[in-house]
Amino acid sequence: MSMPQTSTSLVEITNLTVRFRGAQTVHAVNGVSLTLEPGKVLGILGESGSGKSVTLKTLLRLLPESRTDIGGSVRVDGRDVLALNPQDLSDYRGAVTSMIFQDPALALDPVYTVGEQIAEAIVRHEKLSMKAAMARALELLELVRIPSPARRLKAYPHEMSGGMRQRAMIALALAARPKLLLADEPTTALDATVQIQILLLLRQLQRDLDMGMLFVTHDIGVAVEVSDRLAVMYAGQIVETGTVRELIRDPRHPYTKGLLAANLHGAKKGERLEAIPGAPPALTEPPNACSFAPRCKFVQERCRAALPPAVQLGEGRVVRCILAEQALVAAA
């Protein structure tokens, strides 16, 4: 290589593994690689225990370090996140990458007003007076379209409704103008009519502020509303990635197909559902075969013998399944 290659990706995760030590070791993430271009949205879709939230938390180093083994590399905006020292890490958190959660109670402090919390987050990263920071906080509340923002600036989190708290948390996350927003099921606890408001807000903010966003959810419908591309996770691995259109219109992995069927969109009454039998594996061992094989109706001998190949079907379109490989060979 003649020149040090400058990567244009905002997020570049390579072969990430996360293992929790404890009474029983849990292999939560087993070789995840993904990239996110600046200003794009990647939806990470998976069920509980698929490793989607763990992957997200690794990007902010939020996992308890004393009992977590992390392997692979995580680069965000040119930084090696796993190697950041404490000072750089706290500069990085919030200013480069910030996060919104399912439960705003995790992000909002009940003893300070919303305005104080946002202003504090601004001052932490920028040299601004508290007064100027408060003015910015007001702008942020306007940005997330909280009604009567000046009044809400002085409100405590418990004085707000669920949807409003979620908006306040988004404002807090945006306080230091991050380049990357991590969203961990931010609409799961919300009512349907509020959920769509928050999804549309996130979509618009992401576009207007030109942020990258990683959006973790278990709900395909939600993922489709906000994402440019999707990654489907199962048992700590990404089993399929592609654009939203490719995954919805032409799912290739049997698990993705099963999830789409289980979403019941357009399912007719009285029809039997194509349910995936069984339950996800316990992840006490690192996988040495296809993790989905025990539940897959297309399972072959090879699936149980070795890890499935990552089959490249196109630019950014990867499926971890031998069926995809066989289809590719047949087509050639």
Binding site: E47, S48, P147, S161, G162, G163, M164, D191, A192, T193, V194, Q195, I196, Q197, L199, L200, H218, D219, I220, G221, V222, V224, E225, T243, V244, R245, I248, R249, G258, L259, A261, A262, N263, L264, H265, A267, K268, K269, G270, R272, L273, E274, A275, I276, P277, A279, P280, R295
Partner: protein, 342 residues
């Protein structure tokens, strides 16, 4: 003693359950009252599945608890197969054999200190079945909900997955041989792939045991899949009720329409562009006068703020909606014209 089957007394024309102006208020102290369920009327026909949808605070879970008589109603009454629930012909204890409930939290609804078979056998023993018979019955039910009794009967709840536990809860509800099963967000906590298995099971059991379901959920896709008729609730009231395809295809109440269009589109080329409603659902402490939906309704007019709309029959007679726009002569400009008497 054994549990005998319950004969169909009223015939197929009598609703299995009829709720008349069911009302449940919770005093908050200081004079404030949560009007959780406020004069709700509905009927569930024999063998059908009534889906109940609505957002938090709409009163759907309180309705379930009142129907199950876990909470006494403040006003109103229920008829079960024509008999007054808690009356002389149908005591509360008798009613509870015929109506059962499955809760959302599969873990919290099983006693952690009892084995699975003991949990299922508990109900029948309460009604005088011998312990040995109840255990045999429990194992039979485990088989029917898809859990091998030899493997699962003597296990404890914490050793099962969420989907397996919910199967146990379903078996427990069936142990008394009920005719009506209330499913309160029974599949909501499950992962999607497991949810589909349990929905298939529920459909099979309905067939096998001739059950009637009240299916409460916030997931409109699931409700559409499993229900024959759907009831939409808003702030403690029924705003619309009708056959599922008609209601989903042609919602008559603006709230139903908003709820349906708030569903994610699932079509990457045709994503939702505008939220149908702004703000959060209001809480049921001080509901608005008139139509409770009017402050958020795009079609609200003066009459909506003043007069409470009645749940009126609309369309071909199978549907009801509580909206002034559906009632001729209500005073709303979109209301159909009054038919001129000949």
């Amino acid at each position: 003693m054994a549990l005998e089957t319950h004969p169909d007394r009223g015939g197929p024309g009598t609703p299995l359950l009829q709720a008349k102006t069911l009302t449940k208020h919770f005093p908050l102290g200081g004079g404030a009252v949560v009007r959780a369920v406020d004069g709700v009327d509905f009927a569930v026909m024999k063998g059908e599945t009534l889906g109940v949808v609505g957002e938090s605070g709409c009163g759907k879970s309180t309705t379930a608890r009142v129907v199950m008589q876990l909470l006494p109603q403040d006003k109103g009454e229920m008829l079960f197969d024509g008999e007054i629930v808690g009356g002389q012909a149908l005591t509360l204890k008798e009613y509870r054999r015929q109506a059962q409930m499955v809760f959302q939290d599969s873990y919290a609804s099983l006693n952690p200190r009892l084995t699975i078979e003991d949990s299922i056998a508990f109900g029948p023993t309460v009604h005088g079945v011998s312990k040995a018979n109840a255990i045999l019955k429990a194992r039979d039910l485990l088989q029917r909900v898809g859990l091998d009794p030899a493997r699962f009967a003597a296990r404890y709840p914490h050793e099962l997955s969420g989907g397996q536990r919910q199967r146990v809860n379903i078996a427990r509800a069936l142990a008394l041989g009920p005719r009506l099963v209330i499913l309160d967000e029974a599949v909501s906590a499950l992962d999607k792939s497991v949810e589909a298995q349990v929905l298939n099971l529920l459909a099979d059991l309905r067939e096998e045991f001739g059950l009637t379901y009240i299916f409460i959920s916030h997931d409109l896709n699931v409700v559409r899949f499993i229900s024959d008729r759907v009831m939409v609730m808003y702030l403690g009231e029924v705003v619309e009720i009708g056959p599922v395809e008609e209601l989903y295809g042609d919602p008559r109440h603006p709230y139903t329409r908003a709820l349906l269009s708030a569903m994610p589109s699932m079509d990457p080329d045709n994503r939702t562009m505008e939220a149908p409603l702004a703000g959060d659902p209001p809480n049921p402490i001080n509901p608005p006068e008139g139509c409770r939906f009017h402050p958020r309704c795009p079609h609200a007019q003066t009459v909506c703020a003043k007069v409470k709309p009645i749940l009126a029959t609309v369309g071909d007679g199978t549907r009801q909606a509580a909206c002034h726009m559906q009632v001729p002569g209500s005073g709303h400009s979109h209301a159909p014209a009054l038919e001129v008497a000949a």
